[in-house]
Symmetry: D6
């Protein structure tokens, strides 16, 4: 059940990102969150300011985010790690093209004062394919 | 005769995809269909949600789908596999160009309650050529 | 004289293609024509449907088709093979550019009921050069 | 249980390939096996002669073959399809390098006279990574 | 039956090439044979001297030549055209690698004084794949 | 202090990898360890078999492994996550060249029966630079 | 405290650059400032004229500048060096894309007549990543 | 005079590197030296361990190191920064080739207890040219 | 004097090409002119039809044609060969860019009935440079 | 003082080029000026016609030309050579981008009838960098 | 007949080049021969010294030179131009590979004191194909 | 005559370089010679030390240096500039290959105490072609 909750929270987090819903997205993140991602150029991102820029300067487009092969490991009653393959389908209606964007993600969650918060993430192996 | 029916159903399936006819397309697919295709980035696609995104966000353009060198093998009276070369001709009227798109496809069909359903597919080797 | 006729028919066939004149083009082709060409991605094209798509979806543009170094061999009074270099000059008036497109072609002709029909073709080595 | 048997047979098939054990490998294949694979250049391979050349002209090297995310679907009591990710680890002892080779595979099995035989395969998306 | 003979002669021709057996190879070719092939750089090869250089300066290596999807058309009782996909498997025992080499070929045959002779060929679309 | 222990264990783990010391390396890993790394081609590695192949088929060469900017977060008294930049210096004495290999790593540790075990890892962004 | 001041001044300098505020930017620079940067093509830039051109001919766009891993070393009470990773996030609202631009910077500061002035800089390793 | 001393010490430092003289090289460096260089992949190198690996695992080859366009700025009587272009000429006697390797360097020096020590460096823009 | 005339006629020929003056251009060419040029893809161009297509389908743009290092050799009182470097300067006013286009040309002239006619040309080594 | 004059005249020459001021530019050049530059494709440019085309067909855009590291050598009271690094900063206001264009230049000046004239130039190593 | 002689002399010239027979090769060339060829980098080669270097420093290897589509034009009784496609077949016996090397050549001949001498040549469009 | 002497001295200088004759080469150079060349990576080379490294660490190989299209301008009785195209032919006897290496060079000469000395050089546009 807790594993299911972790997976559910992760799916919510990604959906808030798609919808550019900063209020709910940021509620699921620890203020001291750390992470590795391609936009960090090999450096660890610390805190929420980096992500916030995305929500503030770009808008949502029609797309869907899939979590594939999720693997949840409970580390303690108050902590867990989830690893999964993420595939985003994105439609460019102007050119009638679908893009499929793939990455590998690990997310570490910690329950603080009853709320699960994402405290570390690692996103890698981002590749992109277009319909021919 | 059953082999001919399998080939006919496969042709229908591809034509529904061209016409973006989701209702008929999805009737020919098992809800638990699995598949490998370039958009899956090496991961198996499970279920129909992935395909549905294509039908909902892009529109049809003038093109024709050819099945070449089809090979149907009846595995039992209620199951079959068809393998073939697929070539799509697509016209870009804006640039007066024809694209020819090639792939290899295998599709496994199973008859359930009298209806043949596509239960697995494998699409690979997608290449594209334009008229010079 | 028959060699000259074969060359003349071949020139006509290419000119009908340039003018997008399907009625006359298809009259010169055997309904079971086979062929190799870049758009076939290594597979043999069978029948006229493949070519027809070109005539129906694109329009003609100012260009000229040259047959260079033609070599006609009469195989019997009713059959012949012609091999030649084909160079198409194509003008893109928007960019004031001329494209020269080269290929090697072999075409096999057979006289059936008094009419010469193209029954096999092989087109390869397509390269393109633009005026600098 | 039959699903497990199919997976077991698939693992055996791949291991015989690694060991270059043609006698056991060919016993698991239908003489009319068909397949798509990169070495076919987009054409369907038919029969066992194509594979046999590999066994006869190359030798085995230290490596391991992993089946990941296998998905077995029983099509009838006598037929099944298995789809999986295949990763081969190969050691080049001369350069002290490990290669990891990835592909997607689907294999269709049919039981004939009590023996399961591989009757169709589709192998795609072959990529290779070396230890840096 | 004649179609079968044409296919058989074509297979022989390719096998003589593999074995570097010039005497038998040249007996199957018309002295005025013409052809297009990649080594001609877009120009028509005329006569047998061009091929002979290959037989005289290179030696045979273990490989196998497959004719796939052959299509024979009798043009008259004394002439025929065969078109097919050719795949050569070649083993490089030094590096323990298999190469698979693909091309499209059309060959025109004419019976002269009772013997079938290859009078024109067109070889294109040569691609090469190595085992990873 | 526990953060320091986590960092110390991580350094040990990497050093055992350099020394190809499988016995000690595997003692620090949970048998059900999961991970993402370039050799997985986007798929999650499960269990220790994958790593073991490296230890068994390659040998150690002179190099040094640095942990830079480590960030340890205690998730509970029995679980932690460490994220860091890893730089390996590797000498190729034959060519008198130094290679510097960079990656980003996250490792999740869990204390089971008093022993800290690595239960998940994520390695990405591997780049390589040679001395000019 | 002085280290903090140096870091604060560096952040100000970068923010003035983002805002294209030449008056304040130039007040923080020594008139004889020297520097290496990609726009210098390997040559040392001397004086402020080179930078001024940027402020005068381009305008500001929505972006944010992060200083990561700053390292301040006081060289004397009146001089210091700061080294850090700089990541700029830049939004291209036309294409709904975020660019993340990375560089390494070292800046040498000297206090003259009570004011800290940047007297040398070195900027390198500029890489750019776009959201996929 | 002090500027000249700084330049002289810098030349010495580079010559010790060429000669692989670790004892003298390390005497000129502060134990807490920091630096950016290509081998750091965008991360700051801290301390002397990183450099030491070079001295221990590679040997010297015939080459010469030039300091071009040096610019020394005294920051205080006890601190200075030098910036210059560095060109290394390296001979590969096996291939009878000369390599010319270019980089931009800034080095910050501090006098501690009477001895000048290099406390920060920044090396960038490394390019390599061979004699044709 | 005749050498000067040949050079003068060559310059005229090139100027007529720039001005798209077909009437005067064709008066300077032998009706059976032959030539090699990039647009011929390695085949010899015969006659004037090929060039005429350029004059009829494109228009002139501001540019200048230079003959550099001309070398005229009188072969007989009625025949000559001129070889030279040709550089065309072409202005693209839309992008405020100048293109410089280089080629090597040899032209053979023959006096027939008192008029010098260009009877063979060879144009090669076409390269293009834009102002940065 | 003469060295200063040579440098001043060189700066003027480059500024006239930026401003497209042909009258003053050409007054500083010897009518028989020779030069090597990328637009010459390896051939020596002779005379002023080549440059004039630039002035007549393109217009000025906001940019600045820097002379770096100038080295003037008086060859006689009436002749001198100047060598320097030239960096042009060019603003593309449409895309809000700055381009920095680098080249190496040598210019030989000769005083004739009291006026210094540029009689030879050599421009090379042109590279271009854009703001990221 | 003279056309045949010109073609014969051209074939001899090429054969002497293959055999590295300088004495006979140079007898067929005018001492002031001019030419364009790839090794001239766009500059005209003048005299025989350039070619002689080839004969003196390299040795012959098994190969054959074909003249295809020759076109001879008599310019006067004492002068002629020949244009043709040249294909060289070259065997690399070490790798068991055949190379086919293509170029376009024009050669101008002049009879002086009864002997035909090559006085100008233009060689271009050199491409190379290896057996796969 | 002086122009001829300048050209002769230049040819000598290049020949001494080929023969690796440092004593005579350095006698023809001013000790304060300056120059631009590819090995300088855009920086001016000053003095003779840079060249000397070439003479000391590499050996001569069979090659020839041609001066093409030389242009000598006397700047005063005691100074001159020569500009020319330089083509080096170099034989690699191991691979039976000829390399032709091209560059543009300007050299400024000054007569001091009766001896002509090279006081500045500019070498650019180095390209290399191998016999196919």
């Amino acid at each position: 059940p807790e594993a299911a909750e972790i997976q559910h929270l992760t799916q919510q987090l990604l959906d808030y990102e798609v919808k550019r819903d900063w209020i709910n997205y940021s509620k699921l993140c620890h203020p001291s969150i750390t992470g590795f991602e391609p936009q960090g150029h090999g450096h660890m991102i610390k805190g929420l300011e980096f992500q916030r820029f995305y929500f503030e300067t770009t808008t949502t487009t029609p797309h869907k985010t899939l979590i594939m092969d999720p693997q949840v490991t409970m580390l303690s009653p108050e902590s867990a790690v989830i690893a999964y393959v993420r595939i985003c389908q994105k439609a460019d209606t102007a050119t009638n093209t679908i893009y499929s964007i793939h990455s590998n993600e690990s997310r570490v969650w910690k329950r603080i004062a009853g709320s699960w918060l994402n405290i570390h993430y690692h996103k890698s192996n981002t590749t992109k394919v277009a319909t021919p």
